[in-house]
Symmetry: D2
Subunit: 104 residues, 4 copies
């Protein structure tokens, strides 16, 4: 497509919620961490999701694989929340975002 | 790819927020509606986002194109919220979800 | 409280997800609709949540009551996603937001 | 107790996005961190939001104050994303959630 950026860097916040598998979802979250590691994506777990940075296509391929794996583990239903940040004015890493506030 | 579902139907809720373009974001939201229409995806605008249903790859290709177009229109930064629902137990459309509650 | 706005109108998008109750969450969503109705809040269900408008305190009291009721119905765990919009430049209703895009 | 829990502990993920103030929102995020500190709430900044834990009313009073302060700083419009977790089966802190996955 003309006009599309060949590469688009993205910072994502991902929270995958398997439904119909009981109250503890730890093993599914752990599996998603493995997906991100295998994908070689820089990521950081926090108490309500995981920050990920990388190229758009790589990050969203991993998100899709999280759904596939969690279904394959037996979860019949998944609801996921994603925040997606892109910018064209400058490069910014996850650490930059934290540092810029912490410095103040 | 072994282990991946050949097709995965998804219901998505999408809210694209352009930053650094002033307080009114109407024209960017309108452009995203156009992207969804051009992609032939079933979608429904509401007061805080847009519901979309379709195959995973088609829906996320459209989401990526929303970011590309909104940047191309001059927005230097975008933060987007996405909810993603998949299920393997049964088919469910956006309208089914609304009907199942409304019937009660 | 000094410095606080006496009233702050808010448009909210609410998606309550009970966990540990099986795959169907319809009855819990229906109960939340009842909470909003009883609270007299203008609201509109869509396929991935409910738009609500009202004063900040009224809306968030209702959101809290949704959690209380869904727990009282037996759900041991709830994860909820909320989007919250406020603006000081002008009044805007949920319908205004939809109309401004649809008009284009 | 009529229906409502006297106390309800909550883990929240908060992401406040001021609109109409240009591309950099650092000073507004920093102000929200100050609100959380002044409120005495346990919180942890990450690259796409802030995790907060505390009693429901205390946490949401702080969220409201974030909106009030960010408007008072000049932002005419704010869109905020919140995830809210409550559970009645057991106590769980933000650190517990991270540890349970990291241990695996």
């Amino acid at each position: 497509m003309k006009g599309s950026l060949p590469k688009m860097k993205v910072i994502v916040d991902l929270c995958v919620v398997p439904m119909g598998v009981g109250v503890s979802v730890r093993k599914y979250v752990t599996e998603c961490q493995k997906v991100l590691q295998e994908a070689g994506l820089h990521h950081q777990l926090h108490a309500y999701g995981t920050n990920i940075e990388g190229e758009w296509d790589d990050v969203f391929a991993a998100v899709k694989q999280c759904h596939e794996r969690v279904h394959a583990m037996g979860a019949p239903r998944i609801t996921t929340s994603i925040k997606v940040g892109t910018r064209t004015d400058r490069e910014q890493s996850m650490q930059d975002k934290i540092d810029s506030v912490a410095r103040k």
